[in-house]
Symmetry: C2
Subunit: 358 residues, 2 copies
């Protein structure tokens, strides 16, 4: 039934050696580009290799050398332009440093993340970049550290874990964005974010286990409290994972009697859905609802009105984390670093004075 017909046996160094009438060791030296060989022999071997169409088996090489020349990357969702830009940054740096990238999607699911890390480790990647979906369940990441393989975290720090990390200044960014809204007189500000608490209701900041999400909420709350806004937490909405969920949340939020006058979206996918719902309800931006989103996705400047955003240097985030990892793989032994890249608030036209009828 399921018979796998045998692969045509590939040409090995031994074959080449035989053809070139030299020892396996010598052929290996030429083909592997190490040790010392005379020019004449080198030429003979290369010729034989070409004639036989020899292709090195990177697997075998990896097994003896211990390094595989690959770095594993585990992200939440490649379809999210945030991650695809970051991955591009990682891939570019990786390539120029001579590494390949194995990509795995966790779908923000902790079990999938654990499985991915496990197989990546089994594949003996030389280093690992992870966007941890939970800051609490970190046993698999601690395993990585214990195994001695370099690990770097992207976009989300984990307090107890001493590894290289690159994030943005989430707290400050959220604070600044919120302050902008507060400054324009808004007092009913909603914050919509993807997250994973069992019940999608925001109860307590300690229920939030994703570092970036938590920091942003803290920033949001801090700014609100400074403005003496009552119960700002009441307008925090978790669970905007995927279009449908986001849509539902937005409809609910905007359909209510005392709907918020401003919305802060935690990524461009969420913002897009919110934007659509606002339109659908025949509300105006910014007259009826002001909107700010994290991540300056390419389309945010072409909508009417263009959207005010918290610009995260996404590509550079990927570059930075890859650079840290590469340095670590080369044997850098200093203390793990936590790089925090700054965000910029780009003011466009989606924010206006809050209607004064409150």
């Amino acid at each position: 039934m399921d018979e796998h017909f045998p692969r045509k046996p590939s040409v090995t160094v031994a074959d080449v050696a035989r053809a070139a009438k030299v020892s396996k060791a010598t052929a290996a030296r030429v083909l592997g580009g190490y040790g010392t060989v005379s020019d004449s022999v080198r030429e003979t071997v290369l010729q034989a290799a070409r004639a036989l169409d020899y292709r090195p088996n990177e697997l075998a090489r990896s097994m003896t050398t211990g390094r595989s020349g690959t770095i594993g990357v585990v992200v939440g969702d490649i379809e999210n332009p945030f991650f695809s830009a970051a991955v591009r940054g990682i891939a570019d740096i990786a390539r120029s440093a001579g590494f390949n990238v194995i990509l795995a999607n966790s779908g923000e699911d902790i079990e999938a993340e654990k499985a991915a890390v496990k197989t990546l480790l089994a594949k003996r990647v030389d280093g690992l970049i992870v966007t941890p979906s939970r800051a609490r369940e970190t046993s698999h990441l601690e395993d990585v550290v214990r195994s001695g393989r370099p690990l770097a975290l992207l976009d989300r720090a984990i307090p107890g874990l001493a590894v290289d990390t690159v994030t943005v200044d989430d707290r400050e960014a959220a604070e600044a964005a919120t302050e902008l809204l507060v400054g324009r007189g808004h007092r009913r500000i909603a914050y919509i974010t993807a997250c994973d608490t069992p019940e999608h209701r925001f109860r307590n900041i300690d229920d939030i286990h994703t570092a970036s999400v938590r920091l942003r909420i803290e920033g949001f709350l801090a700014a609100c409290e400074r403005a003496r806004i009552l119960d700002p937490a009441g307008l925090i909405r978790l669970g905007a994972n995927g279009r449908a969920e986001t849509r539902k949340l937005a409809l609910e939020l905007l359909g209510s009697r005392d709907r918020p006058t401003a919305i802060l979206a935690s990524d461009s996918l969420i913002a897009l859905e919110v934007f659509k719902v606002i339109r659908e309800l025949a509300l105006g931006i910014p007259e009826d609802v002001s909107l700010i989103t994290f991540h300056d996705a390419d389309w945010t400047s072409v909508t009417t009105p263009p959207i005010t955003v918290v610009d995260q240097p996404v590509y550079r985030l990927g570059e930075a984390v890859a650079k840290l990892l590469v340095a670590r793989m080369k044997g850098a032994a200093e203390e793990p670093r936590h790089v925090v890249l700054p965000t910029t608030l780009i003011s466009r036209a989606s924010v206006s004075e809050a209607a004064s009828d409150t």
Copy 2:
């Protein structure tokens, strides 16, 4: 200086065997999940493995079994939402079939593509999915076929190459889009596409070596000619690789005295740039310029006006190609298939009657 301190030696089957006081072969049988072992011994071995924190070395396993459990994917640009959606489709299917994905970016550069294919082959991926950037330079792909490794092409067919392929009906799609414009009275229609001819000028259809690009241009020209439009090829613009280049082309095109009354963009990234330029020049869509783009990127429905698009089933494209590949890897021996997925023209509001002053 650059001393790589030795990896802490990992726990092997032999170590586990010793600890469990059984032979290496028996331990391997338990750990590898093959052959036949008694329950009592199995338990002993598993316990020992747990105690030692044994982790299988997938590399070693791959070397003897010949399969690595990975599929290699070479795409033009992960940052392009077209590809990231397709990759997501691939990754999902791959995962559910038990495969990992190694991702490589070619940047639409044929040399990078060749290099990527080569290293992927060296890493002994079990199968390969490629978005070939040139339909003419295919030596590296023929190599793959010759090596006996399953190969599947995504989005772009290669005439002479008998391998599984998944594309959309590019020709018909371009024709339909063009006809829509023609039907509204447009006679100066520009087609902007990313491509790679040495001089970015369109001379002859035979200079176009990327299958999808070529088919679309053929469709475009066919529709134009049927409408007896003079020199439609004169408004074809190649070389829209990257924002800057696209912007330049768009500015040039729209700044000219007899600017086109309609533009057809070959992907959403190009369309976005064109959209921005149109705005910048204070022109109106669709009063001054009508716009249609390939790929229903998520933002195309939220601009003002929303954009008429050729909707390609991108995620399903990825799914389909991955499915074909998986089937092939399982040993399917039938003739290679070329699956053509249908596109849909989604009419929104970016197309209107051509100004009659022509």
